[in-house]
């Protein structure tokens, strides 16, 4: 059981600073996912924890010890690489045993550990094969097995599923969740796929341009994003974010955008004349009858998936809106629809992107 702490970690390559002071606390046994767009520094952060990159400032603390000067080989962590990084000239068994041989473990112990891990990952039949004779999913298991046998302080995963096809990715995702439940070790997982983040994590760290945007449990990020970036990044399809202006509206306030006016409950921190961004998730918009809606829009495209329907529509002065409805919806291209926003799950952000309110109280 291992806890990992980052204290104001900085990383720069020459003059270019890529990680701008990150503080993070990974608790023992936690499954933490770093998520963010490409180039946000999530892989760099993982490599800093692994010891493959040196910090330019700040401290990496593992179990209370500052490990800044300790090389990767002595940090006791295991890493699964995006490319799997299996040693092509060694059999699967040798691949898994390599780390144990390096720590001068007795042969019998190595054998039992490798066999146990192989059985757990169902790769026993392939132990004598070379990596090139394995499929992508099998290679992935070997890479995970290589990490497991070491019984490391923590597991680090660097986009481990991104080379797999969609179906296998879903299956491996479940297996990883099961593995964490079984092993219970501290795991840090890097991905750009927010679905992986939502499904696997105890705690998600949303990174953007070398900074932490928000840290929290998956549903906390979903329900209460701290700014427009997190609001837009977490959730699929992404939240509708619309820039509007606050106007007075007979006693209350309303959001004015294009030709549409959306009445909202009065709220501390907003005043008429202010520029704001409001957000509504596709599933929090309902198609209602004439006169009940907030926005009148025309349908551009519908995606009928059987169990659910996505409607893409445009309204005067608004960007394209995505609406998600359960079930099959008899809506067609060109049709006019009336959309009602669920006030209790609407998000309002200030012009600088920071949240004003996540869900109006009725």
């Amino acid at each position: 059981m291992t806890e990992i702490r980052l204290n104001n970690v900085l990383k720069s390559y020459g003059q270019v600073e890529v990680i701008h002071g990150i503080d993070l606390h990974v608790e023992s046994g936690e499954f933490v996912v770093f998520v963010g767009p490409s180039g946000c520094g999530k892989s760099t952060l993982l490599r800093i924890i692994a010891g493959l990159e040196k910090v330019s400032g700040g401290d990496v603390v593992i179990d209370g010890d500052v490990v800044n000067a300790i090389p990767a080989s002595e940090r006791g962590l295991a890493m699964v690489f995006q490319s799997y990084a299996l040693y092509p000239h060694m059999s699967v068994y040798k691949n898994m045993a390599f780390g144990l041989e390096n720590s001068r473990m007795p042969r019998s112990e190595i054998e039992s550990r490798v066999n146990d891990a192989a059985a757990m990952l169902q790769i026993t039949p392939y132990l004598n094969r070379r990596p090139k004779a394995l499929s992508g999913g099998q290679r992935q298991r070997v890479a995970i097995g290589r990490a497991i046998v070491r019984d490391p302080k923590a597991f680090l995963f660097d986009e481990p599923l991104s080379n797999l096809d969609a179906e296998l990715r879903v299956a491996m995702r479940k297996e990883l969740a099961a593995l964490h439940a079984k092993l219970g070790g501290t795991m840090i997982y890097v991905t750009h796929d927010q679905i992986e983040a939502m499904t696997l994590a105890n705690k998600i760290v949303v990174l953007n341009a070398g900074r932490v945007e928000q840290i929290g449990a998956p549903l906390d990020l979903y329900n209460a994003p701290i700014n427009t970036f997190v609001a837009g990044f977490i959730g699929s399809p992404r939240m509708n974010l619309i820039e509007a202006e606050v106007v007075g509206d007979d006693g209350g306030v309303a959001l004015q955008v294009g030709g549409q006016r959306i009445a909202i409950p009065a709220q501390e921190g907003i005043a008429p004349g202010q520029k704001v961004t409001f957000g509504a998730r596709p599933e929090h918009m309902a198609i209602v009858g004439e006169g009940e809606g907030d926005i009148t829009a025309s349908v551009d495209l519908t995606e009928q998936l059987g169990g659910e329907t996505y409607v893409y529509c445009t309204a005067d002065g608004l960007p394209q809106l995505t609406v998600h409805q359960v079930g099959q919806l008899p809506v067609h291209r060109g049709e006019t629809v009336h959309l009602r926003l669920n006030r209790s799950s609407m998000h309002l952000f200030a012009a600088d992107g920071g949240v004003i309110v996540n869900g109006f109280k009725a």
């Binding site: 295991a78 299996l86 092509p88």
Partner: protein, 358 residues
Amino acid sequence: MAGTSTMNDRSVTRFLTARRGGASMHWTDVFSYIYLALGVALMFGPVVWLALSSFKTPAGLQEFPPTLLPLGQIERQVEGYDDPLPMFEVTMEDGSVRELAQVRRIGIIAQMVDPDDPGETIKVPIANRKPIREFRVAWENYTKPLERFNFLTYLNNSVIVTTAATLVTLLINSMAAFGLAIYEFRGRSAVMLFVIGTLMIPITIILVPAYLVVTQLGMVNSLWAVILPGAATPTGVFLLRQYMLTIPRDLIEAARMDKASEWSIYWRIVLPLSLPAIAVLAIFSVMWRWNDFLWPLIVLNRSEVYTLQIGLNAFQGELDVQWHYVLAMTVVALIPVTLVFAFLQRFITTGIASSGMK
């Protein structure tokens, strides 16, 4: 078994008569075959000529016009003569052709006898006779130097020099290449440029200083004097380093995560993955060392430490070159390099390093 061999024959035949397609040969097929045949003749011709000539007697080598195959004149024991006499095909004045043995030759007239009727001597103008020859191999070209000269010692020395030097070369060049490929440090490119830069200094320039160093170290007339000075080659470092750069960094990092020491990353990860490049360098090194002449000639002065190439030089006197021995021993000297190439060439394929990665 027979089935397999016919299968092979068929496929070889098919390979050698492959066409673009279609029923008859296209002009490009003809062109290709002519071109390829020319290439084969150009590459193989000299080697075949060397091998065939190495079986010729000194007289056979001097002959003009030269024959392709090693031929020897048939001789017969004739009654009344102590030595066997050479046989000739003689066109008689009446136009008939007879096989006669030559007793002696005086000017342009040869005195000949019929081996079946040795009593009568026939005088024949030498223009009318033609030697009868058969395919005959002069094995003595090979056996004599091996027995009489210290050829086995030379061979042995060459094998020791080549093996030891190749092993040392591979070890230290791969270590240098590892350092220059895997680690990133300030001045890495400068060091690499410096290493490559030494390629531009011809051996003739460093010959004297290198000889002085070797003398100071007391290595003259020992095989180490040949093995050590050339062990670190810029070509080898460059070749291996460029190959090692293609090894995915993830593998090195995975090994670091696997608690591997830097030595075991080198020995157990990078070296096995660089095998194709190592094989190429091994072939080069073997060829360089085996064929090396100038440096051994300078530092090896006693015949018991001669390498093959220096030994071959011994057949070349100031006034007389024993071509039959030179040719035969050249063939012997070619064999090991050929074998090494045959066995290592299958390693000269790339892609081993990348196959385990997606």
